[in-house]
């Protein structure tokens, strides 16, 4: 299934071990992700926050992939678009907005970093930076640390397809492969790196082909399909947990919005192309799948959307009213405070 891309929804196989309640939770997270994403865009356009970088279109890939992990023992290196991953791991809409404003209660950085630079120690989501692909060597190292400590955690590490052009991608995946580190390298191939289409990044047609260089499995999956993504990643996680090393998974998807609030995508792609992909909207697709399975119905979906809208409104207000970081705080934690102790 992984390597085939079903043309119609019917052709996809939603067979899964995920219970109905879990599926409903995932659907709710997807709807919340979309609502948070759209609110961030709105806040930016209103001048309330400085910057946003939308994930619209990539929600199924994110939420399907992360569902295959065990939040009680696995480690996470998500990339900036992964609102869906973070909401799945316990971050709240308010947290995301706090990051957007740069408020002190922002759990990622206390307002120090631009939005979407995830960090959530309690969920083992490791702090990230802006230079892309730098987290890939980190994920390899964390995987090796788990091996050494005899723990059975698996590491999730995501990035865009453009980021696979970078040396750190090569070095990180290669080292993980050599040491059979338990890492899932999850590429959200949304077809563009800012303005540059796939063909400017690589001479292969699928990111999964890059896996051959490392002697690890490479899987390509329809990233707009939660079930398909979940199934492929799940298999990869099982392999990693069993000691069989890393997998490179490519989720084929599409960025429905501009690259960021600072981008204008009109000079590098057509409106028709976007419209074509919008027809495959992952939330719509997941909803149809759940309705067909009898897990969801239209009324419940609408109620859920209304609840989410309220939640996002309240979260926006809460974040807006939260305090700014104090200047006195800005010099703290350049180094550890309180002498020798734990690394963190």
């Amino acid at each position: 299934m992984a390597r085939k891309q079903g043309a119609a929804a019917e052709a996809r196989a939603p067979a899964t071990d995920l219970p109905a309640e879990r599926l409903l939770g995932m659907y709710r997270t997807m709807v919340t992700t979309r609502a948070v994403d759209e609110r961030m865009w709105l806040l930016q356009r209103q001048g309330a926050i400085a910057f946003t970088i939308p994930c619209k279109g990539q929600e199924a890939a994110q939420i399907g992939a992360v569902a295959a992990f065990d939040p009680s023992r696995d480690w996470f290196y998500p990339y900036y678009r992964d609102v869906g991953v973070m909401l799945s791991l316990g971050m709240t809409p308010r947290d995301v907005f706090l990051g957007g404003f740069g408020k002190f209660d922002d759990p990622e950085s206390g307002g120090r970093q631009m939005p979407y630079h995830w960090s959530l120690p309690k969920a083992r989501v490791v702090t990230g930076s802006s230079p892309v692909a730098t987290q890939i060597p980190h994920a390899a190292g964390t995987g090796m640390a788990l091996q050494l400590k005899g723990e059975d955690g698996v590491v999730f590490c995501s990035f865009g397809e453009g980021s696979t052009s970078k040396g750190d991608f090569h070095e990180g995946v290669n080292f993980a492969a050599v040491r059979k580190a338990p890492v899932i390298f999850f590429c959200e191939n949304n077809q563009y790196a800012i303005s540059e289409g796939l063909e400017k990044q690589m001479a292969v047609r699928s990111v999964a082909e890059r896996a051959a260089a490392y002697g690890i499995p490479g899987e390509s999956v329809d990233g707009n399909d939660v079930f398909a993504t979940y199934a492929v990643v799940r298999r990869a996680v099982e392999r990693a947990r069993a000691g069989d090393g890393p997998t490179l998974v490519e989720a084929r998807t599409y960025r429905l919005m501009a690259h960021s609030s600072g981008d204008d995508d009109r000079n590098y792609r057509t409106r028709e192309e976007i419209a074509e992909w919008a027809k495959k909207d992952p939330i719509q697709l997941f909803k149809e799948q759940l309705i067909r399975q009898g897990v969801l119905d239209e009324a419940r979906a609408q109620a859920l959307s209304a609840e989410v809208a309220d939640e996002v409104d309240a979260a926006t207000d809460a974040a807006e009213q939260a305090p700014w970081p104090e200047v006195a705080d800005a010099t703290r934690f350049v180094y550890a405070e309180g002498g020798n102790g734990r690394g963190r």
Partner: protein, 337 residues
């Protein structure tokens, strides 16, 4: 704008961003060896629109959208330079020049020296730097000191549209690698009338942007403008401030630095980068070595604090960057020392 070599007539005011674009367009039109490479520099015209229109004008052989990989942007530019081209390599944000550090420092800077002139490496690495744009931690950094430490490189950081255009054109014509820093906080303004025609400004020359008698302040980039503001404010208090724009960070214009130090005997160096081992450290050390007995006050430095980088939250960002008020305060202290 002392050092302009142009005699042409003036027209409407331009921004620093327009200055960059014009310099590239003119040099590409003038010399077919000049090419531009970087992320999104093609159809997108660069994320800041610095190369808007160049792709249409010069085509995809000379305006090259590269893969997302800074080391190969610089590395391939080196390979093109030794083969006779004159590449301009754009790094989207100066913060992302670090993956290319080895190619810039160990390669580009050493090509000529290590081959004893067998090969040369005429290459410009352009990078927007600096803060005040809500880009913390990684879209606001000042990284110029790393490169200004490296013999074999020339490092330029202009502050005004005339200098921006004139220095970029000089950089493109230079036979050696030039790291060209454009402060993104002043891309939009202040605007300035740029002399028309083949306006060149020489690399290696500082410029007294405002002459003064009592105190000297030395700066570059956005900070230059805050220093000018402070000087203007202090003029009302009867303190006459000389503002020296370094413009080139390697090689430093030692003569101009020592001249202003000797003239006023009171020097403050202002920079946005972290203080320790920032460019101001070298300026200060130069003066302490060669003009110590001309000084009437300690050499001050007003610079970014010793935290890893400028934070994002507005109050913290404001805290990080030296302000006109803070600079005025320091100069007032020096003047009355």
């Amino acid at each position: 704008m002392a050092a302009s070599q142009s005699t042409a007539v003036a027209v409407k005011p331009k921004s620093n961003l327009e200055a960059v674009r014009e310099a590239m367009r003119e040099e590409m039109a003038r010399d077919p060896r000049v090419i531009l490479m970087g992320e999104d520099v093609g159809v997108r015209g660069g994320v800041f629109q610095a190369s808007a229109g160049l792709y249409d004008q010069f085509g995809n052989k000379r305006v090259i959208d590269t893969p997302l990989a800074e080391s190969v942007i610089v590395g391939a530019a080196i390979g093109a330079a030794v083969a006779g081209l004159r590449p301009i390599a754009e790094i989207q944000f100066a913060d992302f020049s670090h993956p290319a550090f080895d190619q810039i420092v160990n390669e580009a800077a050493r090509v000529r020296y290590r081959s004893r002139n067998g090969w040369g490496c005429p290459l410009v690495i352009r990078a927007p730097f600096g803060g005040g744009v809500h880009g913390g931690l990684y879209h606001s950094q000042s990284v110029e000191a790393f490169y200004a430490h490296v013999p074999g490189l020339k490092v330029v950081a202009p502050s005004t549209p005339g200098d921006m255009k004139g220095l970029l054109k000089s950089a493109i014509r230079d036979d050696d690698p030039v790291v060209f820093f454009e402060h993104k906080g002043i891309y939009g303004g202040p605007r300035e009338v740029i002399p028309e025609g083949d306006h060149l400004v020489p690399i290696g020359k500082a410029d007294v942007k405002r002459p003064g008698e009592h105190v000297s302040v030395i700066a570059y980039g956005l900070m230059l403008h805050r220093c000018l503001q402070a000087a203007e404010d202090l003029a009302g208090e009867g303190i006459s401030v000389e503002v020296l724009d370094l413009r080139t960070l390697r090689p430093l214009d030692t003569e101009a630095i020592l001249a202003t130090a000797r003239k006023t005997g009171r020097v403050c160096v202002v920079y946005e980068d972290n203080k320790a081992l920032g460019v101001g450290a070298e300026v200060s050390a130069l003066i302490a070595e060669q003009a110590l007995f001309d000084l009437d006050a300690p050499i001050m430095r007003v610079a970014g604090p010793e935290v890893p980088a400028m934070p994002y939250a507005p109050p913290l960002e404001e805290w990080f960057m030296p302000s006109a008020e803070g600079i005025a305060e320091a100069l007032r202290h020096l003047a009355t020392f």
